[in-house]
């Protein structure tokens, strides 16, 4: 079974509206489900990237009359791969400095060590110090000072040393 053969099988499946196929031979076992997902089971044949697999349109209700909340700052997609994301472990207010007139803990471009405090998140009048889990360079600070943050929100991108 090679990529070409597989491609022609997939085309045939689509032409004939097949929703599921399992084929076991002494050499390989093939399982294909058409529609939203396609699975291949050992031995792993290379998956053709340009194969015409129909995508199920997600059916998500929208609320036309409701104001959407402002979109949260999201890290640029292509960069995130090499960076470590520091996420908010609690809900609260993000502060870059220990007090209003103090210097920020870190700036973009700063080198930080594992365990170094990056910011604080105030929750229920308690100041929670958020430490870096890696050593590296702060490449991006994604939240403004005094901005509210939700659980799991990405605060910093750090390029590990």
């Amino acid at each position: 079974m090679n990529a070409k053969e597989l491609k022609s099988i997939l085309q045939a499946l689509q032409d004939h509206e097949v929703s599921e196929l399992t084929l076991e031979t002494p050499d390989y076992k093939l399982t294909i489900k058409r529609g939203p997902e396609v699975q291949y089971v050992a031995p792993p044949a290379p998956v053709p990237q340009n194969q015409p697999v129909p995508q199920a349109a997600p059916v998500v209700p929208q609320a036309p009359a409701v104001e959407a909340p402002p979109p949260k700052a999201e890290p640029p997609k292509e960069e995130t791969g090499k960076y470590v994301e520091v996420k908010a472990p609690i809900v609260g207010t993000f502060y870059r400095a220990p007090s209003p007139d103090a210097e920020p803990y870190v700036k973009e471009g700063d080198t930080v060590k594992k365990g170094q405090v990056l910011c604080i998140i105030e929750a229920m009048k308690l100041m929670n110090e958020i430490e870096s889990e890696v050593s590296g360079v702060v490449r991006k600070i994604l939240v403004q000072n005094a901005e509210p943050v939700e659980y799991g929100q990405v605060l910093f991108l750090i390029e590990p040393a």
């Binding site: 909340p69 929750a123 659980y151």
Partner: protein, 447 residues
């Protein structure tokens, strides 16, 4: 009135609160776990805020994150829904400490009504019957004497016990001696304390509950009662309003409910649960200090919006509704549709909803957070939809429920729901005649 409130819950009840708030012109923040970020209440919310990972203990039960979420989003009040923190007096107290209105009763009411003993004491003081029982028994002779006074059958229970362990049903004086000894041993084994108490054993009963609304200033009304006797392992499956209790028994129970709620100066929506035996004896069990899943049947017969009333009372609006204003009409039934495989002992069944079609037409209400394309997360309870019908009579309501169930389609790979179970109940002759005690599912629904 509030400008913005936060819902500290998920699923259909989060949607229910959102709907009530929206109709009142209040903005809604929906606090949600990571697993619920694509849930319908989140999608429909004015604002959504993630308060933790999927496990409830770290999200929907995470008090610091919930309070922080309310504070940073500027929500003036929190609606706890049911379950999770809804009956947690500490949470209510912490809300108050942080200047956030908890939409529910005062922490004090919750503390005092929260324990069995507390509830029993309040019931006694407000002249509401509870199951007759004794204090700690000193001997078999004392037990025999008490059983004679109460009437057989009776239940021997470990004084320190709970969860049904160390309990013995005693049906006659002959059985007492052996049972007493066994129960003592079990009590010692389970709870390291052989002390026993004894109470009346109510074998066959209906679960009837009274819906009350109070303003915390002494004004309390009831909004009728519900029968919730269709249960499986103490989980309610089908509820209806009104109950099929005869007068004047029904009025006596309603009056008892109001009396108790007035005694504690109750604020908000609450439910007083009673058991009612076939002879018409009724006993107060406990009070649920929150909105309940089955509040919908009361809304159908009363025309009131109980969640809106909760919010208005919490906001301090005058509660002017008088008992005589509340007119109940017709009969309502709710079926809880759970994502469970009824044929495989109600095993939970999760997955993606691919095809969804809910019934419509006269007298049909659907409360569900499902949408086509939604994946039911495995972390929470299995309730996926409440199907509620209203008819002029119980007979019409049953016919309508059967019709509505037959229009319902909730499908996805491997997904099963309890719709077939409910159809079976609607077709059951005992159910149709209203002969339903809490043992109905176990004894009347056998194949």
């Amino acid at each position: 009135m509030f400008k913005k409130i936060m819902v500290a819950n998920r699923g259909e009840i989060a949607l229910r609160v959102l709907r009530a708030a929206r109709e009142l012109g209040i903005k809604v923040v929906v606090a949600h776990s990571e697993a619920d970020s694509q849930s319908l209440p989140v999608l429909l919310a004015d604002e959504a805020i993630c308060i933790g990972p999927a496990p409830s203990a770290q999200s929907y039960l995470n008090i610091p994150n919930l309070l922080s979420a309310a504070i940073i989003t500027g929500a003036e009040a929190i609606h706890p829904g049911y379950g999770f923190l809804a009956e947690n007096p500490q949470f209510a107290e912490m809300c108050r400490d942080h200047g956030i209105v908890f939409i529910g009763p005062t922490p004090e009411s919750m503390y005092s009504l929260g324990s069995k003993a507390g509830g029993r004491e309040i019931a006694a003081k407000s002249n509401v019957p509870t199951v007759p029982g004794t204090g700690v028994l000193q001997s078999v002779e004392e037990a025999l004497e008490a059983a004679e006074a109460i009437g057989y059958p009776v239940l021997l229970k470990a004084s320190a016990g709970g969860g049904g362990r160390g309990q013995k049903v005693v049906r006659s004086p002959d059985e007492m001696k052996t049972a007493f000894a066994q129960a003592q041993v079990e009590a010692q084994n389970y709870f390291s304390d052989p002390s026993l108490i004894l109470e009346k054993y109510v074998e066959l009963f209906r679960h009837v509950e009274v819906q009350v609304m109070g303003d915390g200033k002494g004004h309390v009304v009831h909004v009728g009662e519900r029968d919730c006797s269709v249960q499986r392992r103490n989980q309610k499956l089908i509820e209806e309003a009104p109950s099929r209790l005869e007068e004047p028994l029904r009025q006596e129970i309603l009056a008892a409910g109001v009396r108790l709620a007035k005694y504690v100066n109750y604020q908000g929506a609450g439910t007083l649960e009673f058991i009612v035996d076939p002879e018409g004896n009724f006993y107060f069990m406990e009070m649920n200090t929150r909105i309940q899943v089955e509040h919908t049947v009361t809304e159908m017969v009363s025309g009131l919006d109980l969640v809106k009333l909760q919010i208005k009372i919490a906001a301090g609006e005058p509660f002017t509704l008088q008992q005589s204003d509340i007119q109940l009409r017709g009969h309502a039934i709710e079926c809880r549709i759970n994502a469970e495989d009824y044929e495989k002992d109600f095993r939970p069944s999760i997955g993606k909803v691919e095809t969804l079609h809910f019934p419509g037409g006269p007298g049909v209400r659907v409360d569900s957070h499902l949408y086509a394309g939604y994946s039911i997360p495995p972390h929470y309870d299995s309730l996926v939809a409440k199907l509620i019908v209203h008819g002029e009579s119980r007979e019409e309501a049953i016919a309508r429920m059967r019709r509505a169930l037959s229009e319902t389609v909730i499908e996805g790979p491997g997904l099963k729901t309890t719709v077939p179970f409910h159809l079976k109940v609607m077709d059951n002759a005992f159910y149709q005649r209203g002969v339903v005690y809490t043992n109905f599912v176990a004894t009347r629904l056998l194949d």
